[in-house]
Amino acid sequence: MTRHHLSAQQENERSSELRSYVVGYVLALILTLTPFALVAWSDLSNMKLWSVIGICALIQIVVHFRFFLHVSLAKQKREDLHLILFTTLILVIMVGGTLWIILNLYTRIMPSMLP
């Protein structure tokens, strides 16, 4: 469909943004299908499966941020980036700390609760 009101510049911008959504969708599909297929059909060891699931999930999160939320390190406003980085810092401290402390307690006094 042609959009006559768009300048050549805007038409370019449109096709590059469309491409970004399509690329993001395809990458996300690959990164979703891989772990599902491996868990369903492969006979890898549990440890290997968990690592693949974790790595695919982390990459897919980055893909979603980049292609769907349009967050890019180079072009983003500084405040937005600060907020994302600060949130990540809080997450690492709180989630990492929780897992470390509680799992450590489990191994010491309640081994039955270990996952």
């Binding site: 943004e17 406003k77 709180m94 897992l99 799992l103």
Partner: protein, 207 residues
């Protein structure tokens, strides 16, 4: 003018929608602050879930309760809805008429509703196998995490209906445009949280 910087997360409307684009910069930043604090809530519920994995108290565990097929379908529905919302954002930015925008939004809404339906069916099946929130610490943590996400998706669907109403009354004015942009951020964000849920909860549990 080529935008050399992104003024805010999510699609930037640019100079074709000058008023909305200016309004968005602060509105979306505020919404992004909320989104990031919401992310912390979800991450801590993930931590709680992992810590409670061993606490099944003799009740059913992940292997008895989770179904790979429906988790996969839910994942596909949500991912597709993220893409269709992207198409709606493009239509909002580049089309003069509302037809395409409404079409993509309706598809997105239907995908979201199908997701909620499947999730409710999951919960129902789990409950029939004694998988209710009060059964064990593991199940409490599961329902806290997964149903909070489900509630967010329900809220996002309601928000979309409200925006349809606003669009019918006011047309595509600045308020509606900025609303759609923020809803888009919420929608993509919920898909990111779902990546965590299908990886940690469903795939991690079914390994």
């Amino acid at each position: 003018m080529t935008p050399t910087t992104n003024r805010h997360p999510g699609i930037n409307l640019g100079d074709m929608h000058e008023e909305a684009s200016d309004a968005c910069e602060s509105l979306v930043f505020g919404f992004w602050v909320f989104m990031m604090s919401d992310l912390i809530i979800f991450a801590l519920l993930f931590a709680t879930y992992v810590v409670m994995l061993g606490g099944t108290a003799g009740g059913p565990g992940p292997h008895e309760l989770y179904e790979m097929k429906s988790a996969f379908l839910e994942t596909m529905l949500l991912l597709a809805s993220s893409f269709t919302f992207g198409m709606a954002s493009l239509a909002l930015k580049y089309d003069r008429t509302k037809g395409q925008l409404l079409g993509w939004l309706v598809i997105t809404l239907l995908l979201g509703l199908a997701f909620i339906g499947l999730e409710l069916r999951d919960f129902h099946l789990m409950a029939s196998k004694d998988g209710v929130p009060s059964r064990s610490g593991f199940l409490s943590a599961f329902y806290a995490l997964v149903s909070l996400h489900g509630l967010h998706v329900t809220g996002a669907c309601l928000w979309m209906l409200v925006l349809f109403g606003q669009m019918a009354v006011h047309g595509l004015d600045t308020g509606v445009k900025t609303g759609l942009l923020r809803l888009g951020i919420l929608w993509h964000f919920l898909d990111i949280v779902w990546i965590g849920i299908f990886s940690v909860v469903y795939l991690g549990g079914l390994v």
